[in-house]
Symmetry: C2
Subunit: 352 residues, 2 copies
């Protein structure tokens, strides 16, 4: 029996609805597969937790998480209760950094039967490799003066090591896929960091003559996700640009509700974290209409990370079948509830 | 006779094709309207100019431009010849800053008969007010160390004055339009500048109780431009976020080839500059297929800026008619050449 110890953090809003749904699917996967066990330990860390404890997680929170095989997270953030920059930096970004989850990967692709937001889209299948530890997300900087004279200075920090790491990951991935890497830059407008980014990209691409490369400024790239997503394979992007592109990727797929993500600790020292692209969506909480597919596809990425790719692939096929049958939530044109979609995925998984 | 002295800078690539087209339209507008004269003085400043002179414009370039009523620019950039950050900072961004063109406005809307990249889009009509002088586009920062240890630090600088100015412009504009302002933020990830941005937004909105406000993180906002553009009226954004959003705005309209823009000097001390959203598009140069509508609609924004709104509105109606008739270039589904589209717009303008 192979056992995986997983820390689950449902978090805020619909995180509390879709994480239990995905856990049900993983438990069904145990039975289908045999010889596999997922042990979940749930942590209530969230904006509500903050209200009570004045912090997003206990002092020894990171220590507690350290020993798990993975962290399975729903969504964090409820600005009505806790300002976003506090809830996110104390929990999500804190975990990403502390556990050196330096790469964030997020696929986007067409599904048969899924009505896209694009008119007559060609089939596309792309994956964004996002630098996940530095760049524009930095606590370096501050403000000076008050009132009319106030100035805020925000530092973006790009290290050769961090940039190279993300790009190398992208090239290795492209090597197993479509053999093309697109670099998201903005070296025409952002004066220091982006020309540096371009230089590193050139250096990293050198040992990969068989991989096609191109670079797009982020404005044109964002637009091209809408006008010609089929031209992309692997896209490598900074922390902020990756964040923006992957939400657009989710939108062109059909809904942010189905987009998955993985925060990868590439040196194997610490647990990786799996969290979908969508947020806590306070406006649809409690209605049983949250799309569970993002969280469930995220579970598939966790299975792949464990090396359990057989069951991971079966799970993806179950998702494909359910989408094709149209047993889906309102955001992608269906009428099913969160739990109905989940049940149908479990049914398809059992059938496999 | 009212005379406007306009400096035209066709620039690179298709800029040299669409600027002459738009000038032909403006000359036709003179005749239609009467009592109006546009005097154009052309400057060859471009990447090719750089090859010869080792600078994008002569030392006294800004001094020369200062006395014009407006600057009418095509597109700058040809990275095969001059690195983008040099060509853009020496010319485009230099002009924006030197002439205190602190606001950039860019509309995006549906047109009857224009096939959108979106499936069944509802009618939308939005305008992005972009802070155009500071923020993420800053030459403050640099690099340290070489090779594996190299680190690039990029400062984004947000002043209260600059931020407030853009937001006030957005509220004034919303007051004449749909009475709603959306703020593009990223205060959950970008630690100093974006919470500051949010604070200023709250302060600026206070005196406008009749204007509805909302804020979106840039990732969700970019996605919402694709999934629900009809919900937006005026969007206020930083330099970088505005850049990204307006390219997406162009894409959902149908093509970056039709999107117009204005760089506004709001204190009237210096000329404003009018340049479309699209770039120099080296790949389609010389084929007579560049869409002239972006440049021609940009001319309409220049007319509005001069206060010549009658003829500006007539020009927009001519554009609408031509799009509806389908006399358009390939990028938006037609077969017409740059010059055929231009001729048809002139014909419609004469008919008005
Ligand atoms: C060419 C580039 C520097 C410029 C910008 O980013 O401002 C362009 O994309 C624009 O939007 O006018
Ligand atoms: C919540 C926020 C800080 C986060 C990010 O920007 O990284 C989210 O948008 C994401 O993409 O995971």
């Amino acid at each position: 029996m192979k056992t995986y110890d997983i820390a689950s953090i449902p978090g805020d809003g619909i995180g509390k609805e879709v994480v239990p749904a995905a856990i049900r699917v993983l438990q069904a996967a145990e039975n289908v597969h045999g010889g596999l066990e997922f042990k979940f330990t749930e942590f209530p860390w969230s904006s509500e937790y903050y209200l009570e404890h004045n912090q997003m997680m206990p002092d020894d929170g990171l220590d507690t998480l350290k020993n798990f095989d993975a962290i399975f997270l729903g969504a964090i953030g409820n600005p009505e209760i806790v300002p976003d920059h506090i809830s996110l930096w104390e929990l999500l970004i804190n975990i990403r950094r502390h556990f050196e989850q330096v790469i964030n990967i997020r696929p986007a692709r067409t599904f048969e039967g899924l009505s896209s937001k694009l008119a007559n889209p060609k089939d596309f299948d792309l994956i964004v490799v996002r630098e996940n530890s530095e760049g524009e997300y930095s606590e370096v900087g501050g403000t000076i003066y008050q009132g009319e004279d106030k100035i805020a200075i925000q530092n973006a920090i790009f290290s050769r090591k961090g940039t190279e790491r993300a790009m190398n990951y992208a090239f290795a991935l492209a090597n197993q896929r479509g053999k093309k890497v697109t670099s998201a830059t903005k070296s025409n407008g952002i004066y220091h960091s982006m020309p540096f980014w371009d230089d590193v990209f050139k250096d990293v691409s050198n040992p990969f003559p068989e991989i096609q490369t191109e670079q797009f400024h982020i404005d044109a790239l964002a637009a091209s996700f809408v006008t010609q997503p089929e031209r992309f394979d692997v896209i490598v992007a900074s922390n902020l640009f990756g964040d923006i592109l992957t939400d657009i990727g989710a939108a062109i797929m059909g809904s942010v509700g189905i987009a998955p993500a993985a925060n990868i600790n590439i040196n194997g020292k610490y647990p990786s974290m799996f969290e979908p692209v969508h947020g806590s969506a306070p406006d649809i909480v409690g209605k049983d209409i949250a799309n569970p597919i993002g969280q469930i596809w995220t579970a598939k990425m966790m299975l792949d990370h464990f090396g359990e790719t057989d069951i991971g692939d079966q799970l993806l096929r179950a998702i494909e079948t359910v989408i094709q049958k149209g047993v889906v939530t309102k955001d992608i044109g269906g009428k099913a509830t969160t739990n109905e979609v989940t049940d149908e995925i479990i049914k398809q998984l059992r059938r496999a």
